[in-house]
């Protein structure tokens, strides 16, 4: 595999993780535009652990994802009291707060960030994506997945059916933050440096976009969205300066043609039925 190809695939894997982190929160009917903040926590924390403390990357990744998850839960408990637009604004504010924090936080280099990060391999990204995918697949099949669906469908009816709605939402936030933390750590050690500018609002928005385009009813949709929209800019490279315009137009056309995203559950179910006999 060429280095160019490997680079694209690694970025794609990181995008898949970001899409997953947005997906698991969307799966409970919440929209977070602050996942870049969790990514930043994962990136800076793991960078600090490997560069300054010399801890091996895999351990640093898990520790920083746990920290990110912890922040997610701590954020979720107050923030998830609010709903709809206000929640979106709250998470947006969180993302920007984290970025501003790292601009001023000297131990991780302030606005310049840190250099000398390395060690993300293709296999490492692949393994992480596979592990997280299996985890999400099991969640989707389990009773927890059904609780997620119930909360997304109708919070009151979910309460009435004995579902602890707030616990489910906070759990989704915690899992989403964990995955975003992993993505941040892998990304930072792939790019060899990390700076606060990497984690702008646009990163959060892209993660949500992958899910909406791919389909938010199942994690397969999130994966497909991330795959297609990571590869599309590369495939459109022959158009040179026009490619981003075409990319944008493709998004609009897709939203009109398939408003529920590329993959829906009914679609998957129909495919499954076809192969049963």
């Amino acid at each position: 595999m060429s280095i160019y190809m490997e680079g694209i695939l690694m970025q794609m894997g990181i995008n898949i993780l970001m899409a997953y982190s947005a997906f698991i929160i969307l799966a409970t009917g919440q929209l977070s535009l602050g996942n870049a903040g969790f990514m930043a926590i994962g990136a800076f924390c793991s960078g600090y652990l490997t560069v300054r403390l010399g801890i091996p990357l895999p351990i640093a990744l898990i520790l920083s994802a746990l920290l990110s998850s912890l922040v997610g839960v701590a954020l979720g408990i107050p923030v998830l009291r609010i709903r709809g637009f206000f929640l979106v604004l709250g998470t947006l504010g969180f993302g920007e707060t984290v970025r501003a924090f790292f601009i001023n936080f000297e131990p991780t280099g302030g606005a310049y960030g840190m250099r000398g990060l390395f060690g993300t391999t293709f296999e490492m990204v692949l393994l992480t994506v596979v592990a997280v995918t299996i985890g999400l697949w099991r969640i989707e099949q389990s009773r927890i997945g059904r609780a997620f669906d119930a909360v997304a469908a109708d919070e009151d009816a979910a309460q009435g059916a004995g579902v602890n709605v707030r616990a489910v939402k906070v759990m989704a936030f915690g899992i989403g933050a964990f995955i975003a933390g992993l993505a941040g750590g892998l990304s930072a050690h792939h790019l060899l440096y990390v700076e606060p500018g990497h984690f702008s609002f646009l990163v959060s928005a892209m993660a949500v976009l992958f899910v909406i385009l791919g389909g938010m009813q199942t994690f397969w949709g999130a994966m497909l969205g991330a795959v297609i929209f990571s590869l599309l800019p590369e495939m459109l490279r022959f158009m040179e300066d026009w490619r981003l315009s075409v990319y944008g137009a493709a998004l609009i056309i897709l939203m009109i043609l398939r408003p529920n995203g590329l993959l829906s559950r009914v679609f998957l179910r129909n495919i499954a039925m076809k192969f049963q006999f």
């Binding site: 985890g135 099991r138 969640i139 099949q141 389990s142 009773r143 927890i144 059904r146 609780a147 669906d149 119930a150 469908a153 109708d154 009151d156 009816a157 979910a158 309460q159 009435g160 059916a161 004995g162 579902v163 602890n164 709605v165 009813q217 559950r265 009914v266």
Partner: protein, 252 residues
């Protein structure tokens, strides 16, 4: 011990007294009718009992336990299940998923175990219960359909099946037969009877007076948030307050 006991239960919305010092108790595996003109406070009462609305004053005791300040999901787990006036199913889920969601809290689970090693004896028991409920409500053949695609009457029955999946002691039905034809209504009553035989108390809001008089063991009459009368159907048939509330007062 009574299943449910309300003491001086009141709820005000601004200047409106939606519930005004309600005292009532519910005892042994019977069907209770809750009637009253529009705006009498029937649905508000259901919402207070299930914790969706907190009362302004008074208390709710369920099986001897004070549940006045408990959260809706806690009350549901303790054994008060309900259906809604406007059907509130989990629309994108299948019929059986709707029911099994309500079983969640009874499932033998804990954290990662749920995700990776679901199954076992407890799960088998729940599946048996699921099969029984879907069968009772006449939905077994439709278990794999998306609940949104069911007919109106089927959706109402699915709501009842979902409520019963929590294994409640008290079932609150908000207009269960609304929009059903006579045949469907009769079938539903037969099913409610079977639930009662299993030891369930049922309280239902119903507008069809004929049905209430025929089928309920005990009736509560609300008007302007007050409990104006209660008793067996025969006792209420000639009760002046009830007639006044429904037909308007006669001028002297």
């Amino acid at each position: 011990m009574s299943t449910l006991e309300l003491k001086n239960l009141s709820k005000g919305f601004g200047g409106v007294r939606a519930l005004d010092k309600i005292n009532l108790s519910i005892e042994d595996a019977s069907v209770y009718g809750l009637i009253g003109p529009n705006g009498a406070g029937k649905t508000t009462l259901f919402n207070v009992l299930t914790g969706f609305i907190k009362p302004t004053a008074g208390s709710v005791h369920f099986l001897g336990q004070d549940i006045t300040s408990k959260k809706p999901y806690e009350i549901a787990r303790l054994g008060i299940a309900r259906t809604y006036q406007n059907i509130q199913l989990f629309k994108n889920m299948t019929v059986s998923e709707n029911v099994s969601t309500a079983q969640n809290y009874r499932a033998p689970i804990g954290g990662l175990k749920t995700i990776f090693w679901a199954g076992g004896k407890g799960e088998a028991k729940l599946n048996e219960n699921l099969e029984y409920l879907l069968d009772l409500m006449g939905l077994w053949n439709k278990r794999n359909l998306i609940s949104m695609d069911l007919s109106y009457g089927e959706q109402r029955r699915l709501e009842i099946a979902r409520a019963c999946a929590m294994n409640p002691k008290l079932l609150l039905l908000d207009e269960p037969t609304a929009g059903m034809n006579e045949v469907e209504t009769d079938q539903l009553w037969a099913r409610i009877d079977e639930l009662r035989r299993n030891g369930l108390d049922v309280v239902l809001v119903e507008h069809d007076m004929k049905l209430v008089m025929e089928r309920c063991d005990h009736i509560f009459v609300l008007n302007f948030g007050q409990l104006i009368a209660q008793g067996s159907p025969s006792e209420l048939r000639n009760n002046k307050d009830v007639i006044d509330a429904y037909l308007g007062k006669e001028e002297d």
